[in-house]
């Protein structure tokens, strides 16, 4: 299977992993074509779309986890995008649920998905800071400043 995919996906690297896992590394604009090819080769089920923030290497990986019922193989597709130009085309036409995942990633990481009809905030209410799941967002400090911390039992607010 890996050899067949290497032939089809010319511009990306395909690695084999242990057991029944494959890995495909590509970059932003080519992600959609790679996913279409994978879907037509038998990977019908989209498990998850997520994003990993590699702040030291100054890039973000939009990661797609795919599963094939017919071949019983799992594929991880990593679409790398530079941290200052976070634009990835949308996959909402291939799988309808991808639109919801992209809405969440846009809110949490700040990645622009071009072509997605609805990128309004889904989980957060009246959020003014930077996207919260990035590595340079300090959540403990935010919780201390915004909501206060209860120190001891004696001082309970009365």
């Amino acid at each position: 299977m890996a050899r067949k995919l290497r032939r089809l996906l010319a511009g990306s690297t395909v690695n084999e992993r242990y057991g029944n896992r494959l890995e495909v590394i590509t970059d932003g604009p080519h992600a959609v074509s790679a996913l279409v090819i994978l879907k037509s080769s038998g990977f019908e089920h989209l498990s998850n779309i997520t994003c990993v923030d590699w702040i030291d290497e100054h890039r973000m990986d939009v990661t797609y986890n795919l599963w094939s019922y017919t071949h019983r193989l799992h594929a991880v597709v990593k679409a790398q995008a530079h941290r200052d130009a976070l634009e990835v085309p949308t996959t909402g036409e291939i799988w309808p649920q991808a639109q919801v995942y992209e809405r969440e990633i846009h809110e949490m990481f700040g990645v622009e998905f071009t072509g997605n009809p609805d990128l309004s905030p889904l989980f957060l209410h009246n959020w003014r800071d930077m996207p919260p799941l990035r590595k340079d967002f300090d959540t403990e400090e935010y919780s201390r400043r915004a909501y206060g911390v209860v120190d001891g039992v004696e001082e309970a607010g009365v």
Binding site: N20, R21, E44, H45, L46, S47, N48, T50, V52, D53, T63, N65, W67, Y69, R72, H74, V76, W95, P96, Q97, Q99, V100, Y101, L122, F123, L124, H125, P132, L133, F137, T139, E140
Partner: protein, 380 residues
């Protein structure tokens, strides 16, 4: 159907005929804290917007701040009715990254708690389905039954609901004396009660009429939308993570994948009942085949525990479908990124835009209960 057409003709000329209806968070027909904002004409829905995020806790960010072993106390709280698959998925991912194998007895103990947890969650699901239609007696009896299983969990692990029982490397403690015998007698009681619930819920003509035709979906469409678990198997598609991508003790046990034909809410209810019965029989097989031996692999000091760099995706079959944990590690003391895939996201947030328009308001709660939409696992 002609009423629908006439009503929307009125709606075209009169802008006040459409109103916003909050099938909202504070509603006894809603599972958990989640809302749909519907545009309604008469009592028929025309458009749906999703009001999610009331249960958002920022789990993925919280898990990056804790050590690998400290996350085990956070993990069960992602899915509220069915917490064990989360623990098993996390531990499977960590063990796969480290490249270790756990002892066989630990695998069987993990499968035992997974199946017991599946039984409690299915009981709550069936009870909720009955309660949405107004049959509250079903809910009361099933919660009573579920409490008896939770007593066994308390005996084994120490807590009723969030049993923090699985560790990377095995489980926390062994079976106590007399556990297997008492569990067998409880299973006999549960099989006897199943006949009573058949006459209350599953062979009730009112329930058949109410559930028929709601949320009909075909197998190809279900795969494209990403439905998993009993929802997918009720359309006739054969897929089960326990067979396709085995984990824990499932390679050693033989059991069948159960499917139902139909694809609507009645088929899903029958599917849930069949899975409940299969879970009881599977627990019997696990107790028979339980081997002896160690139940834990000692992995060194928990405060200095590191995992080699890499990333992996571990999936586990819970009562609602496929639970996935995508774990990324960069070799340090804390996880670098953990992403959780909840099984209710496609049904609750994406399929609603297709199914709910055209449905009456009274059927929305039943639609949600039949798809087992549970908001904590997509709000995280």
């Amino acid at each position: 159907m002609s009423d629908f057409y006439e009503v929307t003709k009125i709606a075209e000329t009169d802008e006040y005929a459409t109103y916003d209806f909050f099938f909202g968070p504070n509603h006894p027909g809603m599972h958990g804290n989640f809302g749909y904002v519907c545009d309604v004409v008469g009592s028929t829905i025309t458009r749906v917007r999703v009001n999610a995020g009331q249960l958002h806790r920022g789990f993925e960010k919280l898990m990056e701040q804790n050590l690998w072993f400290q996350n085990i106390s956070l993990i069960p709280r992602i899915c509220v009715p069915d917490p064990d698959p989360n623990e098993v998925a996390y531990c499977t991912a960590v063990e796969r990254l480290m490249g270790i194998e756990i002892p066989v007895r630990a695998k069987f103990l993990r499968s035992l708690t997974l199946e017991m947890s599946r039984m409690t969650s299915l009981l709550m699901g069936m009870g909720a389905l009955g309660a949405m239609m107004g049959l509250y007696g079903v809910m009361y009896r099933m919660m009573n039954e579920r409490d008896r299983v939770l007593d066994f969990f308390e005996w084994l692990t120490g807590a009723r609901i969030y049993h923090i029982y699985n560790l990377p490397g095995g489980v926390r403690r062994d079976l106590p004396e007399g556990f297997a015998a008492k569990l067998e007698s409880l299973l006999d009681d549960m099989e006897y009660n199943l006949r009573e619930w058949d006459s209350l819920l599953f062979e009730n003509p009112v329930v058949h009429r109410r559930l028929k035709g709601i949320g009909k979906i075909s197998a190809d469409e279900a795969v494209t939308y990403g439905l998993v678990g009993p929802n997918l198997r009720a359309t006739g598609f054969t897929a089960d993570v326990r067979k396709d991508d085995p984990y824990a003790a499932y390679p050693f046990l033989d059991f069948q994948i159960i499917t139902t034909e139909g694809g609507d809410a009645l088929a899903r209810a029958v599917q849930v009942r069949k899975e409940y019965e299969a879970a009881i029989q599977l627990i019997r097989k696990i107790l028979e085949a339980m081997p002896g031996g160690e139940f834990k692999v000692y992995l060194g000091n928990p405060l200095k525990f590191t995992v080699p760099a890499g990333d992996t995706y571990a999936r586990v079959e819970s009562s609602k479908g496929e639970y996935g944990y995508y774990v990324v590690s960069n070799g340090g003391l804390k996880p670098y990124r953990i992403s959780v895939r909840g099984p209710s996201l496609p049904a609750g947030l994406s399929l609603c835009h297709k199914h709910l328009p055209g449905m009456r308001i009274d059927d929305v709660a039943i639609w949600m209960a039949s798809f087992s939409v549970c908001p904590p696992d997509f709000d995280r």
